[in-house]
């Protein structure tokens, strides 16, 4: 049954609540709303309902101001991890975007003039003005079914696919995460807000939920500063008061462990985007005297479950979600329906997951692995079939295939391979042609020329045969 229409404040936290922390200091609820309203006033007016704003801001505070400004002005935010100027402009064109928000000009194409407004987000100016003006700050009550964000992933054709997020769904998921990880119910709690240091971009669904939306809905203070290198993460944690929560990925967790920098006490570490090896989690728990949790999620469904990595392989669904095995033959992409599970959540409808799950109870499951040909690198997804189509469309390529090595999920330096039949073309030329079409993370590390591909009588390629041709992984 659909829930009754409800409204949720843009910012349910107090005017004095510490939302974000930068190297300059803390940004509180009241000044954040006032600064967002100032930014909202810069957005175009008279746009049709449901128009989008493409938010490319990499700085978390800039991003959060842009997101709140869009909500205040009645826009939905488009989130894409692909920030190359050409592809950002393509996406803005496709969306008929009203504006592009970024910290630096993305370089307009010469002519004709872009139909969107390009806005450079400068938190210092927005916040300074907001503190001086002390104007009445808007804190709109937003209907739960209002679309708040369109989060883009690359689809099986290579074109970006939008996943719509309503304000009610985002609100409910923040509260579910707060309950699961015991983040507290209000800023008046005994320990004060939880300090969150996140290393994932705000345009990524996991980063959006944990480092932007948690600050809107839960008593947390989110660090806004660089968190890429281990040194950045250590400095950010040291700048924040206890209790501290580190939100990261297996790659960065391993890098932080290897760097062996001194860290202040960590209450909890959360990892997502790829499976975390239990021994890595155990090392982190021993070194930092903390607990390591993992979130399972997907762009289309958001975060849906968690587990304590060293306590076993069973995942527990977030409260308020319903998981159900999909009916026979439900997989739209033609893959087997075994393990197909759909998730139903308030204001989010029902979505089928791309990973195969074995449901033990309606709230507990085991992850069986990926169901389709989707590979994941650096938190981004691509379809091997789509990559292969791009490869074989290159001039001079007679046949070809993209292959994922077996250690792709576990080995940080592992990348895709491509086999090609392209007489008269150099592997370097093929790589250059691919570079124009696909995200760098999915470029093959090796382009292996062959006189022909080892296809069987039915034209199918044997994975084992291809693996043999590739030779041992470079890492061994």
């Amino acid at each position: 049954m659909p829930p009754l229409p409800e409204r949720f404040s843009l910012l349910p936290r107090a005017e004095t609540a510490a939302l974000f922390q930068t190297a300059r200091g803390v940004v509180r609820g009241g000044e954040f709303l006032a600064a967002s309203a100032r930014l909202a006033a810069l957005l175009p007016t008279g746009m049709p309902a449901g128009s989008t704003v493409l938010n490319l801001c990499e700085d978390r505070l800039s991003f959060a101001l842009g997101f709140a400004a869009a909500m205040i002005a009645g826009f939905r935010s488009a989130l894409s991890s692909d920030h190359s100027p050409a592809r950002a402009r393509d996406l803005a064109t496709r969306l008929g975007a009203a504006a592009i928000l970024s910290e630096a000009a993305i370089g307009e194409s010469a002519a004709p003039p872009a139909p969107w407004r390009t806005i450079t987000v400068d938190p210092a100016t927005l916040l300074t003005g907001a503190t001086e003006a002390r104007e009445q700050v808007p804190n709109p009550e937003i209907a739960g079914e209002t679309p708040a964000a369109e989060v883009f992933t690359s689809g099986s054709t290579g074109e970006p696919v939008a996943h719509r997020k309503t304000w009610g769904a985002l609100h409910a998921r923040s509260l579910a995460a707060a309950s699961r990880f015991e983040l507290g119910a209000s800023d008046a709690g005994a320990d004060g807000p939880v300090s969150v240091v996140g290393t994932v971009p705000p345009q990524h669904m996991y980063g959006f939920e944990t480092t932007i939306l948690l600050a809107f809905h839960c008593p947390v203070t989110v660090w806004c500063g660089p968190t890429f290198f281990p040194h950045d993460i250590a400095a950010a944690l040291a700048a924040m008061p206890a209790p501290r929560l580190l939100i990261t990925t297996p790659l960065q967790l391993r890098a932080l462990l290897d760097a062996a920098l001194p860290l202040p006490p960590l209450a909890l570490v959360i990892s997502a985007t790829a499976p975390l090896a239990p021994d890595l989690a155990a090392r982190a728990e021993a070194r930092w005297q903390t607990r390591v949790a993992e979130i399972f999620g997907a762009t289309e469904a958001g975060s849906i479950a968690s587990r304590m990595t060293t306590s076993g392989e069973i995942w527990e669904a977030y409260p308020g979600l319903r998981l159900a095995a999909a009916a026979e033959g439900a997989a739209a992409d033609g893959t087997t329906a075994d393990g197909v599970v759909s998730v139903t959540a308030p204001y989010a409808g029902t979505v089928a997951l791309a990973d195969a799950l074995e449901l033990l109870t309606p709230a507990r499951f085991r992850l069986l692995g990926r169901r389709s040909d989707v590979v994941k690198l650096g938190g981004k997804r691509a379809s091997l079939a789509a990559l292969t189509r791009i490869l074989t469309a290159i001039e001079g390529v007679e046949d070809g295939v993209f292959v994922a090595p077996g250690d792709l999920d576990a080995e940080p330096t592992a990348r895709l391979l491509a086999f090609v039949v392209a007489p008269g073309r150099e592997p370097g030329e093929i790589l250059a042609a691919l570079r124009r079409e696909i995200d760098p993370i999915f470029l093959p590390r090796r382009v292996i020329p062959l006189p022909r591909l080892p296809r069987n009588a039915f034209g199918k390629l044997s994975a084992a045969h291809l693996a043999a041709l590739a030779g041992p992984p470079a890492s061994s």
Binding site: T22, R24, C57, E58, D59, L61, S62, E103, A104, G107, V121, D122, P123, A124, L127, T128, P201, G225, P226, T227, F228, F229, P230, H231, D232, A235, L251, Q252, A255, D258, A259, L377, G378, P412, T413, L431, R435, P440, I441, L443, R445, R446, P473, A474, S475
Partner: protein, 116 residues
């Protein structure tokens, strides 16, 4: 007047295609060729590249066009540089773009900043 808030770049190596606003007043001195070859070997070993170290064009960009490294490589490379030379890379270092611009620039930075 508070200090201007400087938005950070979450991908510090990735700005090579954009206009460089940092005045290039102190060019890196060319590194000794031996160090350049050593850093080339480090890159190939750490990232499991197929290239031979001597095939890396010392002037070509490491990221994007050129050697074609990506974000995960940047993290791996930073770890190796820290381990081998005791240099801690930070995102707010304004020189990052130049440090990662090419093998020659990276070797020059290591030569100047190494503590072991």
């Amino acid at each position: 007047m508070p200090k201007r808030y400087e938005p950070y770049r979450s991908r510090p190596w990735e700005s090579m295609n954009q206009p460089d606003t940092i005045p290039d007043t102190i060019p890196f001195a060319a590194p000794p060729l031996a160090l350049e070859a050593e850093v080339a070997r480090l890159i190939v070993t750490v990232l499991h590249l197929e290239n031979k170290p001597e095939e890396i064009d010392p002037e070509a960009p490491l990221f994007g066009e050129g050697l074609g490294l990506d974000s995960i490589d940047a993290l791996e490379l930073a770890l190796a540089i820290s381990r081998e030379y005791g240099i801690e890379l930070k995102s707010d270092d304004e020189r990052n773009r130049r440090i990662f611009a090419s093998l020659r620039a990276l070797a020059a930075h290591i030569g100047a900043a190494r503590v072991r």
